[in-house]
C-alpha cells in the first residue's frame, strides 16, 4: 500500500487508515462507528463548499456588488435545500452555529417573547444537555420547567405530557431522536396535542434530520433544531426552523447586531458552512430511503450477532419498527465495565455509557432515566453506524466485541459470582475507604 496520502475528495474517508486486520480482509483500522457524535463529511459536500472559500468569498449581506450577490444566492439555495428536507419553506430557516445554539435560541427566544402569556416549559429527562441546561438557566429567571420521565423503552408517555400542560405552558421541547439510545419520540402525537392546546412545539431533531423522514407540517412542529455535522456536513453550522404561519412563531433574538436572519440571529453568515449544510441536506433527501434500509440491516446484523454469542446483554431503548434510528444500537454488556471495554476495542471508535474521564464516574443520565442501574449503565456501549460503514466493518466490530467481552468477563468477579448463583444486590459492597 502506498504510504503517500491521497486527496480526501477522491478517495473518500478511508485513505489515511492503517492496518488490515488479518481475518477480516478489506477492513482498515481504525473503524469509525460513532456517527451520533459526528459524521465524516461527504466528499460531495466538501466539493460544493470549496469555491466559497476562495473565488466566491463574498459576504452574503453585501447588497451592492457581485461578490455579495453570489454568496447570497448560494445561501438562499441552501435554505431551499434544507427546507425541502423537512417540509418547510426557505424563509423559515434561520442559520446558526449548530444545534446547541438553535436549541438555546428556540427555548430562550420563546421564553422571553411569550413571557406575558406564560412561563411554563415542558421537556423530557433524556433531552440533550443543550436543552436541559438551557431550561435550567431559565428556571433561575422565573420559568417553571417540567422534566417528563421516560419509560423503559425511552419514550415519553402522552398522558404525562397532557397532564403536565397548564394555562401557563408556552412551550414543549421534546427531541425527535435520542442521541444515545436512538429512540424516536412520538412527535406526530406531541405536535397534534400542542396544536390542540395552543402551545408551541420545539424539537431537537439533530439526530433525526437526514436519517428518518421529518415533516414540520405533518408533525405540527413550531421550531426545529438541526446541525450540519450530524448528517455528513461541516461542523460549526446549524439551523433553526421557525414556523411562519399556523401559527407564526416569534423569537427574542439572543445575539444582537446587524439584524441578519430577519433579526433573529445577527452575525455574518457562514457561507461555506451553509453551502455544505444545504448540500448535505440535498444528498440526505435523495439517499435517505435507501440508506436507512442499509443502516437498519447493518445495525440488526450487529445486534443479532452480539445477542447470539453473548449472554447477559441488553439492548437499551425500544427497537420497535419505526421507533428507532436506523444506525443506532445501544447495548449493555453487563458485568463488564465500559471503559475497559473501550480499551479492548481501541481500534474501534464507539462511545461508552459512562463518563469515566471525570474524577467521579458518572453514568449516562439518559440510561439512568430508562431505569438502568449505575452498574449496567457503566457497561453500555453506543454504536453509531453511518453512511460510510461497510458490512465487513460491522462483522469485524461484532467479532471483536464478542472476543473482548468474553475476555473481560473471565476477569470479572461479578460475572463469576452471578454464574455461581450469587445475588449481587444482596452483597454489602464496600466502596474505597479514601
Amino acid at each position: 500500500m502506498s504510504k503517500h496520502t491521497e486527496t480526501a475528495t477522491e478517495n473518500g474517508l478511508k485513505d489515511h487508515f492503517g492496518d488490515h486486520p488479518g481475518d477480516h480482509p478489506g477492513v482498515k483500522l481504525p473503524i469509525y462507528m460513532d456517527n451520533h457524535a459526528t459524521t465524516p463529511m461527504d466528499p460531495r459536500v466538501l466539493e460544493a463548499m470549496l469555491p466559497y472559500f476562495t473565488n466566491r468569498f463574498g459576504n452574503a449581506a453585501s447588497r451592492n456588488h457581485q461578490f455579495g450577490w453570489e454568496a447570497e444566492q448560494a445561501v438562499e439555495h441552501a435554505r431551499e435545500q434544507i427546507a425541502k428536507l423537512i417540509g418547510a419553506t426557505a424563509k423559515e430557516i434561520i442559520f446558526t452555529s449548530g444545534a446547541t445554539e438553535s436549541n438555546n435560541l428556540a427555548i430562550k427566544g420563546v421564553a422571553e417573547m411569550y413571557r406575558e402569556k406564560g412561563n411554563h416549559i415542558i421537556t423530557a429527562a433524556t433531552e440533550h444537555k443543550a436543552v436541559l441546561d438551557t431550561c435550567k438557566r431559565l428556571e433561575k429567571t422565573g420559568c417553571r420547567v417540567t422534566y417528563l420521565p421516560v419509560g423503559a423503552d425511552g419514550l415519553i408517555n402522552m398522558d404525562d405530557l397532557r397532564r403536565a400542560m397548564d394555562e401557563k405552558t408556552i412551550l414543549v421541547s421534546i427531541m425527535t431522536a435520542n442521541n444515545e439510545i436512538g429512540v424516536l419520540q412520538p412527535v406526530d402525537e406531541i405536535g397534534a396535542l400542542c396544536k390542540e392546546k395552543g402551545i408551541l412545539f420545539h424539537t431537537d431533531a439533530v439526530q433525526a434530520v437526514g436519517k428518518v423522514p421529518v415533516d414540520v407540517n405533518k408533525s405540527n412542529i413550531s421550531l426545529l433544531s438541526l446541525s450540519g455535522h450530524k448528517l455528513y456536513g461541516p461542523k460549526g453550522i446549524g439551523a433553526l426552523y421557525v414556523r411562519r404561519k399556523n401559527p407564526r412563531v416569534q423569537l427574542q433574538a439572543q445575539i444582537d447586531g446587524g439584524g441578519h436572519e430577519r433579526g433573529m440571529r445577527s452575525g455574518t453568515l457562514n457561507v461555506t458552512g451553509i453551502v455544505g449544510l444545504g448540500k448535505a441536506c440535498e444528498i440526505a433527501r435523495e439517499t435517505m430511503a435507501e440508506e436507512s434500509k442499509q443502516l437498519s440491516y447493518l445495525r440488526d446484523k450487529l445486534k443479532d450477532k452480539l445477542l447470539a454469542n453473548l449472554d447477559e446483554v441488553h439492548v437499551n431503548g425500544t427497537m420497535e419498527e419505526g421507533k428507532h434510528l436506523p444506525g443506532n444500537l445501544n447495548i449493555s454488556f453487563v458485568y463488564v465495565e465500559g471503559e475497559s471495554l473501550l480499551m479492548g476495542i481501541n481500534e474501534i471508535a464507539v462511545s461508552s455509557g459512562s463518563a469515566c474521564t471525570s474524577a467521579t464516574l458518572e453514568p449516562s443520565y439518559v440510561l439512568k432515566a430508562l431505569g438502568l442501574g449505575d452498574d449496567v449503565a457503566h457497561s453500555s456501549i453506543r454504536f453509531g453506524i453511518g453512511r460510510f460503514n461497510t458490512e465487513a466493518e460491522v462483522d469485524y466490530v461484532a467479532d471483536k466485541m464478542i472476543d473482548v467481552v468474553k475476555k473481560l468477563r473471565e476477569l470479572s468477579p461479578l460475572y463469576e459470582m452471578v454464574k455461581e448463583g450469587i445475588d449481587l444486590t444482596k452483597i454489602q459492597w464496600q466502596a474505597e475507604s479514601h
Binding site: Y335, E337, M343, G373, S412, L414
Partner: protein
Amino acid sequence: MAYSDKVLDHYTNPRNVGTLDKNSAEVGTGLVGAPECGDVMRLQIKVNPTTQVIEEAKFKTFGCGSAIASSSLATEWIRGKKVDEALAIKNTDIVKELALPPVKIHCSVLAEDAIRAAIGDWKKKQETLKPAEQVQTA
C-alpha cells in the same frame, strides 16, 4: 485518554487471573469496591501457614483498564512476600509504577484496600482456626 505502557501491558496480559478456594483455611479473600461505582476488585491470597509467605495471589476485577492493571500488579508484588511485607505496599507505589493519572488514583487505592482486605480475611481465619490447626499439626 492515553494509557501508560505498563497499564496497557497488564490490561493485555493480566497476571494471576483466577479464583482460589475461598473456604480454604490458607486462603484470604478481599472483595472491595461496588458495581455502581464501576469498580469491583477481588484479590485472593494463599498463605503458607508456617512461613507466612504468600505463595499464590489471584485476582478478578470489574473496572477500567487502570483498575485491572492495579490489581494485576498488586498480585505480582505480593506473591512471594510475607504477609507483613505485603501490608507495607502503598497505593502511591502502584501509582508510580503504572504512571496513573490523578483521575485514576482511586484504582490504586482500591488495590491497596484489596490487599488489606485479603490479608485481613486470612488473619481472621487464622485466629478462629488456630486451636484446630494446632491439634492437627501436633
